[in-house]
């Protein structure tokens, strides 16, 4: 039975998280930025699961569950907002939506 | 040979997959023939008749036609996604089928169950996971063709499927509460036994509401009439696959029918006791039902061959007759009979559901889109929720009574 060190998972999640961060910082398309955020959330979930496995506890999994649920809610609201922005700005570019108000 | 002994799982799984693929593909082909025939007879037509006896070779002809048609790709389309979409659809549809147990796990070769490719503990969840991915095929197809009607079709289908998926899942949860497991085999074996000694303990009886919700949601999930808005030809030409031609179109076609089969299987497993026989075990004569049925079919074919067949068709039909009689004869051998019991009952039930599908198609008109959404969210979802709540309540009632 071969085993995988948990640190592998952690590094992977760190990399994914960092990539998501880069996406948030560099993308202009609101939806893409949103997806980058989701990516970061996933990375965090991976870390959670890995730790849960490492310590043989369920809490990590429960957290992941909650994270997923919250992410879903967030996606719902966020996409609604995106739709509004786009209807108001005729553009998905975040830099077009920089008035701090509608 | 020793390779086989070293890696039984690998080998058996590969063989099973190959067989299953063959069976399902043929099944799909002849499902189309079946549908056309049934609808035709509902509309008092003959349906396919001339390609082969009773149009039995029609599916073959269609397949050849799809293969040899020109495959054209819209220039403005997004190539990658355009090609990805149909593959996604078909692949997912077939993956789902891999989870279905057609017979009891007790039947084993090299210590591996024969009648199921993958027996997961979270089989049901996994199945839902796969089917939920099915949306992408449609949506991406609609988007990537970069054309108006497909886009609308894709939008509709993604919205519709996501909406109905909710009620689909919810309607099933009731069964899960009763069964207490996600494993298909356990769910099925949990339905063994009888009320009053002869009424089978199928979940459909306590979960009748759940079943109705399920079947409705399932039809919608598979974009079948009366919920086939994504491909409503009167509104959107042909919906999301308007721009698809030849084999890519065929893939969507097959994916749709594969989904039908999957959903029917699921209904069978969850509500109708899967491969369990409807009759008590004490009725031993039921062992011979498959053989008897085949032989009867053979006899009818024989009559038909002799009386009404002419020319080449007579020869073809003779072959069919031979197959039926032979198969029937083999099925009468006790060992064989006992082995094919499960698959026989399972297939029978699935075929019934498929017939039901076709039947609804032949009968019901198409919904309007807003009606569709209202129905899904304002009727189906609440009902399935209520069903779930009631089930849970009934479940905890005894323990609650016990604990005061």
């Amino acid at each position: 039975m071969s085993v995988i060190p948990v640190s592998y998972y952690l590094v992977l999640s760190a990399v994914l998280f960092g990539l998501g961060m880069v996406g948030v910082v560099f993308k202009r398309n609101i939806i893409t930025i949103f997806m980058s955020i989701e990516l970061m959330l996933n990375a965090v979930n991976l870390a959670f699961v890995a730790f849960a496995r490492a310590h043989n506890q369920l809490d990590g999994l429960v957290f992941v569950f909650f994270v997923i649920v919250v992410a879903a809610a967030e996606a719902a609201v966020g996409l609604a907002i995106v739709i509004m922005i786009t209807q108001n700005r005729q553009s998905l570019n975040v830099e077009r939506a920089n008035l701090l108000k509608f | 040979m020793d390779f086989i002994n070293q890696h039984p799982v690998l080998v058996v799984s590969l063989v099973k997959i190959a067989v299953l693929l063959f069976v399902v593909m043929t099944g799909l082909a002849y499902l189309t023939w079946f549908e056309r025939k049934v609808v035709a007879h509902i509309q008092s037509r003959w349906g396919p008749y001339f390609v082969g006896a009773h149009g039995l070779l029609q599916p073959l002809a269609d397949g050849l036609k799809f293969l040899f048609k020109e495959d054209m790709t819209p220039p403005a389309s997004d190539k990658f996604v355009y090609i990805l979409a149909p593959f996604l659809a078909l692949a997912l549809a077939l993956t789902a089928i891999a989870l279905i147990p057609f017979g009891p796990p007790s039947v084993r070769v090299l210590g591996q169950p024969v009648f199921v490719v993958a027996n997961l503990d979270i089989g049901l969840l996994f199945l839902f996971a796969v089917t939920s991915m099915g949306v992408y095929g449609v949506a991406l197809a609609g988007w990537s063709s970069n054309s108006k009607y497909p886009l609308l079709g894709g939008l509709r289908s993604s919205a519709q499927m996501v909406s109905y998926e909710v009620s689909l899942t919810l309607s099933v949860v009731g069964v899960l509460l009763i069964a207490g497991t996600l494993n298909f085999n356990d769910i099925i074996s949990g339905q063994s036994g009888y009320y009053l000694g002869f009424i089978p303990r199928w979940h459909v009886i306590p979960q009748i509401i759940g079943f109705l919700c399920y079947i409705t949601a399932a039809i919608a999930e598979t974009n079948r009439i009366p919920f086939d808005l994504p491909e409503a030809e009167t509104e959107l030409v042909a919906g999301f696959h308007t721009e698809y031609s030849s084999f890519k179109f065929a893939m969507f076609f097959m994916a749709e029918y594969a989904n039908m089969i999957t959903v029917s299987c699921l209904a069978t497993i969850l509500f109708f006791g899967g491969w369990l026989s409807p009759f008590p075990d004490s009725w031993t004569w039921q062992l011979y039902l498959p053989g008897a049925g085949l032989i009867l079919l053979g006899i009818y074919c024989l009559y038909d061959t002799i009386v009404s067949m002419r020319g080449i068709a007579k020869i073809q039909f003779a072959v069919v007759t031979m197959l039926c009689l032979g198969g029937g004869a083999i099925s009468l051998i006790p060992q064989v009979a006992s082995v094919i019991q499960g698959p026989f009952w399972f297939t029978t039930k699935v075929i019934f559901f498929l017939f039901f599908y076709v039947w609804t198609r032949g009968t019901l008109p198409r919904f309007r889109y807003d009606q569709l959404m209202n129905f899904g969210w304002k009727l189906l979802l609440p009902v399935s929720l209520a069903n779930l709540v009631i089930t849970a309540f009934v479940m905890i009632l005894p323990s609650a009574a016990r604990h005061g």
Binding site: V62, F66, A80, I83 | A139, N183
Partner: protein
């Protein structure tokens, strides 16, 4: 051997997907690559023996959330991203900092005590059912209140989305 192979394949897929997500100009491509990432992660969860989470990952994330994204992309008919100049701040601060962050985390992991090995997925499949059951028990007993809270949160999100996206006549 198999778990290692699986792990690296999935990891590679995930990273590749993430990179594509960033570099792709078409939102839909980004979405697809994200779905790919999620799939890979789901497999990793399976490796870690968290089957339930894997399933939920696929059903909710890939099956619902991402579909929602795709839906919105299609609805807004989002073309390829327009190439405006980068935010100066992002250029000077964002990229280097992000990579620095990566380095920092890697360094942290390399020297932290969390190098502990864990059982691979093959061993986990057997007790998966148990773990799912245990998870549900924990969810509905120990974490009941957060659970309810989340449900309320979802309700609110639902209403919010409705009100926001409604076409006000």
């Amino acid at each position: 051997m198999v778990p290692f192979f699986l792990f690296f394949v999935c990891a590679l897929l995930a990273v590749a997907g993430a990179i594509v997500l960033i570099v792709a100009w078409e939102p839909i491509h980004s979405a697809l690559s994200l779905v790919l990432v999620m799939m890979a992660l789901a497999v990793l969860y399976l490796l870690l023996g968290a089957e339930f989470i894997a399933a939920v990952q696929i059903i909710v994330y890939a099956g619902a959330v991402m579909v929602l994204f795709v839906f919105v992309i299609m609805l807004l008919n989002a073309g390829s991203e327009e190439r405006t100049n980068w935010s100066k701040l992002a250029k000077v601060a964002g990229l280097p900092l992000a990579f620095f962050f990566l380095l920092a985390v890697a360094h942290f992991l390399s020297r932290s005590a969390v190098g502990a090995n864990i059982a691979n997925g093959a061993g986990a499949v057997s007790n998966a059912g148990v773990s799912t059951r245990a998870l549900s028990v924990a969810l509905f007993q120990q974490y009941l209140f957060p659970f309810e809270a989340t449900s309320i949160l979802i309700l609110i999100a639902l209403l919010g989305a409705l009100i926001l996206a409604r076409k006000d006549e």
